[in-house]
């Protein structure tokens, strides 16, 4: 029999602290849709998605009701579009993206990820088609998300691809200038892209994955912040280790919710249960913030000295609790720092306490990287590429996933605030220092060799 305390604490977590399952992402291998004609390819792709994902939203809603927990987003991820586009040109790429958009809408899924290319060692013609069509694809579709992997531990950093992405990101911003460059919010540049990431915009299905699987992203910054505040209110002498323990326990509970929902959705859909991604994913809602956790840990201004140590503690405690809760942990599994989507981070960036360089430092000990960072629209492409190169280097040298989701806001100046709405929040345009000073480095092109990792110091 459950105890009253157990029931009440779960009710508090679910309903007072607004824990939700952030995303149920159905991963589908669509490689069999390849066809010599773009028309046939798109017809097969549409049919494959509608038959594979048609039931997803209904099943999620019913299971969410059964357990009394909202499943906020239902999403799709596919094998990289570049796999389907071998032998095709940009017209086919745009048709493919529009087919994805329409099929996703038909299934009522929020977003579909996997308009992707993996170019860490070199760019194939199909990869080039995917990359070069991004401005048009991301301006003409609503639900399609794109990702490009430009670096890995084994390959190093493809500086040609990094340089190209600097130009492409500016192209996407220009193509969506009427939405303040919002197309860039649907494009992530990765090092060591995970094969099973459920979060957008970087979700795709990598090699070695099952034909179909359900991957889960849980939320939880608000729950962690509330648990810490409760612990602190109880008084007594607490050390930072006591707070890490509290985060660990909370992470266990949050992860279990994802595991329970994921297994049941997968069973109902008749597909494999993939992973739970432990990442704490903030929303613009007050309190549901990774920045708020840092403040609760005693960092008065996010970005101040101590921020990196605090985010390291947070990420590690989340992993420890989550790994005990589930044997199927995967994806990114760290702490997200999406500036626009997190009210406290957004405010810290607007007031200048949080700067791009500090976000980079924090990336080295948590997940993801520069996420939802708005920068001036006149930032040179080589500088954007160099920012990408820096974040990729952190990932490659530390054997972890890192990513960049920059939004050069057309016409935007430092200090402007850009409203993206909904879960995307408000982005202050952040200063890019030393803009224009990295051109020669990027213009060398080629590949930064894979690192030697045996000499660990």
């Amino acid at each position: 029999m459950l105890s009253t305390d157990e029931i009440l604490s779960t009710i508090q977590m679910l309903h007072s602290e607004h824990l939700d399952v952030r995303t149920v992402t159905l991963a589908l291998n669509v490689d069999e849709c390849a066809a010599p004609s773009a028309d046939l390819l798109c017809r097969k792709l549409h049919q494959k998605i509608v038959s594979g994902a048609g039931k997803l939203v209904g099943v999620c809603n019913r299971i969410g009701r059964k357990y009394g927990i909202p499943i906020t987003n239902k999403r799709l991820a596919i094998t990289p579009a570049a796999n389907l586009l071998a032998g095709h040109g940009q017209t086919a790429a745009i048709m493919l993206a529009e087919t994805l958009d329409a099929a996703a809408q038909e299934c009522s899924v929020d977003l579909v990820g996997g308009f992707s290319a993996l170019v860490q060692k070199g760019i194939s013609p199909a990869d080039a088609v995917v990359m070069d069509s991004l401005p048009e694809v991301l301006s003409r579709t609503k639900r399609v998300c794109a990702s490009v992997n430009v670096a890995s531990v084994r390959a190093g950093i493809n500086l040609d691809a990094v340089g190209r992405m600097g130009r492409i990101i500016l192209g996407v911003a220009e193509a969506t200038a009427s939405q303040k460059g919002f197309g860039c919010a649907k494009l992530v540049v990765f090092a060591n892209i995970p094969e099973d990431n459920p979060f957008m915009a970087g979700a795709m299905v990598g090699s070695g994955e099952p034909e179909a699987a359900v991957n889960i992203g849980v939320s939880g910054p608000g729950v962690v912040a509330s648990a810490l505040k409760r612990k602190l209110q109880l008084g007594g002498k607490l050390t930072i280790g006591d707070l890490a323990e509290e985060i660990k326990i909370t992470s266990f509970r949050v992860t279990r919710v994802g595991e329970l929902i994921g297994r049941e959705v997968a069973a109902e859909l008749g597909v494999a249960f993939g992973i739970v991604d432990l990442s704490l994913a903030p929303t613009p809602q007050v309190g549901d913030s990774v920045g708020e956790i840092l403040r609760t840990l005693g960092i008065a201004k996010v970005g101040a000295p101590g921020s990196t140590a605090a985010i390291a503690l947070l990420t590690d405690a989340v992993k420890k609790g989550g790994a005990f809760a589930s044997s199927s942990v995967g994806g990114l599994s760290g702490a997200f720092m999406p500036v626009s989507e997190d009210a406290v981070l957004s405010e810290a960036a607007a007031t200048g306490s949080l700067v791009i360089e500090k976000l980079e430092a924090m990336t080295s000990v948590c997940s993801v990287g520069l996420d939802m960072v708005a920068i001036p629209g006149d930032t040179p492409p080589e500088t954007i590429a160099a920012i990408i190169a820096d974040v990729m280097a952190i990932g490659v040298q530390n054997q972890k996933t890192t990513a960049v989701r920059l939004i050069p806001v057309p016409g935007g100046k430092v200090g402007d605030k850009v409203e993206f709405g909904g879960l995307f929040g408000t982005a202050p345009v952040m200063e890019v220092r030393n803009a224009g000073a990295s051109k020669t480095f990027i213009d060398f092109g080629g590949r930064i060799p894979a690192p030697i990792l045996s000499l660990r110091n």
Binding site: L2, L8, K66, L260
Partner: protein, 190 residues
């Protein structure tokens, strides 16, 4: 459940809460050379209650059992003791066809809340297996763990209960128990 001997009773003891009640009841069962097959106790508002299934090899009857319990406890006349023959009920068989859910009810206290919800559940053949209610200030919380027979559409039950809650000014939720198991216990599901 099965009992050690065929001559079995369900025994219920009510008293103000103090040390020694369980000891006295156990003493009485031992004196009659019986066996305790199952037991559960709770304390609420300073009052103690115990339910126990006991069985005997010899010819013990209800009157002798209750008298022995009172005799074993100093001031035994203060104990309310009831004993009746234990018969394995047919309800246990139904447990396998029911899923366990938790109903939580929160709001400003008023008379009739338990009545409204329990009457609804009874009408749907939903068995309450555990019930907790507590008034704190003007607020009342009611938590009921239930067995819901397979076949009911949970979303329809949720709609009924939520509507009833609205009428009474209460927030009502019906959730499968596994969300509570998963978030509190080492196992994922029951």
């Amino acid at each position: 459940m099965t009992t050690k001997f065929e001559n079995a009773f369900v025994l219920n003891v009510l008293s103000d809460d103090h040390p020694g009640i369980v000891s006295a009841v156990s003493e009485a069962v031992a004196r009659l050379e019986g066996n305790i097959d199952a037991c559960s106790q709770t304390v609420l508002g300073g009052y103690f209650t115990l339910i126990m299934v006991v069985s005997f090899a010899g010819g013990v009857n209800s009157d002798r059992l209750t008298a022995e319990v009172r005799k074993a406890h100093p001031g035994g006349s203060d104990l309310e003791v009831i004993a009746r023959p234990f018969l394995p009920t047919s309800f246990q068989a139904k447990e396998h066809r029911a899923d366990r859910f938790v109903i939580t009810v929160f709001g400003k206290d008023r008379p009739g809340v338990v009545l409204r919800f329990s009457r609804y559940l009874a009408g749907k053949d939903i068995n309450i297996v555990d019930l907790f209610g507590d008034r704190s200030g003007d607020d009342f919380v009611l938590i009921s763990q239930c067995q819901i027979p397979a076949g009911w559409d949970i979303s329809m039950l949720q709609a009924d209960l939520e509507e009833m809650g609205k009428e009474l000014g209460f927030t009502v939720r019906l959730q499968h128990e596994n969300i509570f198991v998963a978030t509190n216990q080492l196992r994922l599901t029951h």
